[in-house]
């Protein structure tokens, strides 16, 4: 049977222009630039904490390292999700998120045992870090949303959720480089909270921006 002529195909072929394929490395570069600019802005505005250079850091490297790792892995996942694919699961990232949860669980456990839950000065400092960390993720979130809008995410809700995690984690990491409170109680709760809150915000607000 001869093929049926489809006027839509003729029209789309007439409109065809060359395109530059979306490369994953460009998306990663975009997220990296947003993160570096955020760190630079924080360094200029608040200055970076000198504790690590002076050998005073205790939990700083573990907490910020884990948060940064979650941010990088999430950003990479989001960048990949811009291209339609099937048969892809994010199990590795889920385990990494579970590993990150060890920080607040440990913090709450220790604070409960030591009877330090809800101390006023801790909460005030913590809230400042929580707000600063969350706001610091805005640049990364914007970069990833721009990337997803250029792409074609076929799981927009999940892409939105991971966008929130990436933004919250990289923002919290960037802010964490300036934070002088180097305890598990502070870092485990107030520096991980931006990740959780940004994940919820991303899941709620981002799908409408990236649906196609």
């Amino acid at each position: 049977m001869p093929p049926r002529p489809n006027p839509l195909i003729a029209q789309l072929a007439d409109e065809l222009e060359p395109v530059r394929p979306l490369r994953m490395r460009h998306g990663l570069a975009l997220a990296a630039v947003a993160t570096v600019l955020t760190i630079a802005a924080i360094a200029l505005w608040q200055g970076l904490w000198s504790g690590p250079a002076d050998g005073q850091a205790a939990i700083f490297f573990v907490a910020n390292g884990l948060i940064a790792l979650v941010g990088l892995a999430s950003a990479r996942t989001v960048v990949r999700m811009a291209a339609p694919r099937v048969g892809v699961r994010q199990d590795g990232l889920r385990w990494l998120l579970a590993a990150l949860a060890i920080l607040p669980v440990t913090a709450l456990l220790l604070m409960t045992l030591e009877g330090m839950v809800g101390r006023h000065d801790d909460v005030t400092d913590g809230l400042n870090c929580f707000i600063a960390g969350t706001l610091s993720g805005v640049g990364v979130a914007a970069a990833l949303i721009v990337w997803l809008r250029r792409g074609a995410p076929v799981a927009p809700n999940l892409a939105a959720f991971y966008t929130g995690i990436a933004a919250g984690a990289l923002g919290s990491f960037a802010h964490g480089l300036s934070c002088p409170f180097d305890t598990i109680g502070h870092l485990g709760i107030w520096h991980v909270a931006p990740v959780a809150v940004s994940a919820v915000l991303g899941r709620v607000a981002v799908p409408a921006l990236i649906r196609w």
Binding site: P3, N6, L8, I9, A10, L12, A13, D14, E15, L16, E17, P18, V19, R20, P21, L22, R23, M24, M81, A82, A83, P84, R85, V86, G87, V88, R89, R150, G151, A152, V154, A155, N157, L158, W212
Partner: protein
């Protein structure tokens, strides 16, 4: 010509470079592929609209295919995404009969097609969710008719459709 993965990939590479003849062949072959892809899960009268919708999506998002990756999974992901979107939009179809339009599975290409087919998504749903979506969203029964047919309450049918579509949406990328 029956296009297979290497042919699709070559045509798409040329199309991304602006080759209109290659693009015409690509879209024509993609149209045949999509018609077979949707045959078992979409009422015949709606297939054309859905295929046109996917062709438009291919055109708009052609830059998202990377030549280092296979073409057919890319096409299947877009087809699944548009299909779930279609299920959401079409609450009650006018046609209620789905014939036996199963594609034959005697070639390698058909095996790939079957592997990525929409049935694999339905297999991930609970039987109640699958039933509710098939009866109301695909066969076009009303919620009341579907409730009578399955013995579920009307509110349960609605809940199963809602949860089933949400699950399908999440599975578009994850399922093989």
């Amino acid at each position: 010509m029956i296009a297979d993965e290497p042919i699709f990939a070559r045509l798409m590479t040329a199309s991304q470079g602006g080759d209109r003849r290659a693009y015409t062949v690509l879209l024509t072959e993609a149209q045949f592929w999509l018609e077979r892809f949707f045959r078992r899960r979409v009422p015949p009268a709606q297939i054309d609209d859905l295929v046109q919708d996917v062709l438009l999506a291919i055109h708009a998002k052609r830059a998202t295919w990377d030549e280092t990756r296979a073409f057919l999974p890319w096409l299947a992901a877009i087809a699944r995404y548009r299909w779930v979107d279609h299920l959401r939009r079409v609450y009650r179809a006018s046609e209620s009969e789905l014939g036996d339009y199963d594609a034959s599975e005697d070639s390698e290409e058909d095996a790939i097609l079957a592997r990525m087919s929409l049935d694999r998504l339905f297999m991930q749903l609970s039987p109640a969710q699958c039933n509710a979506i098939e009866l109301v969203k695909i066969e076009g029964l009303s919620v009341t008719e579907a409730a009578k047919r399955t013995g579920q309450s009307e509110s349960l049918i609605k809940v199963n459709i809602h949860r089933g579509l949400r699950k399908l949406s999440a599975l578009v990328e994850e399922a093989d």
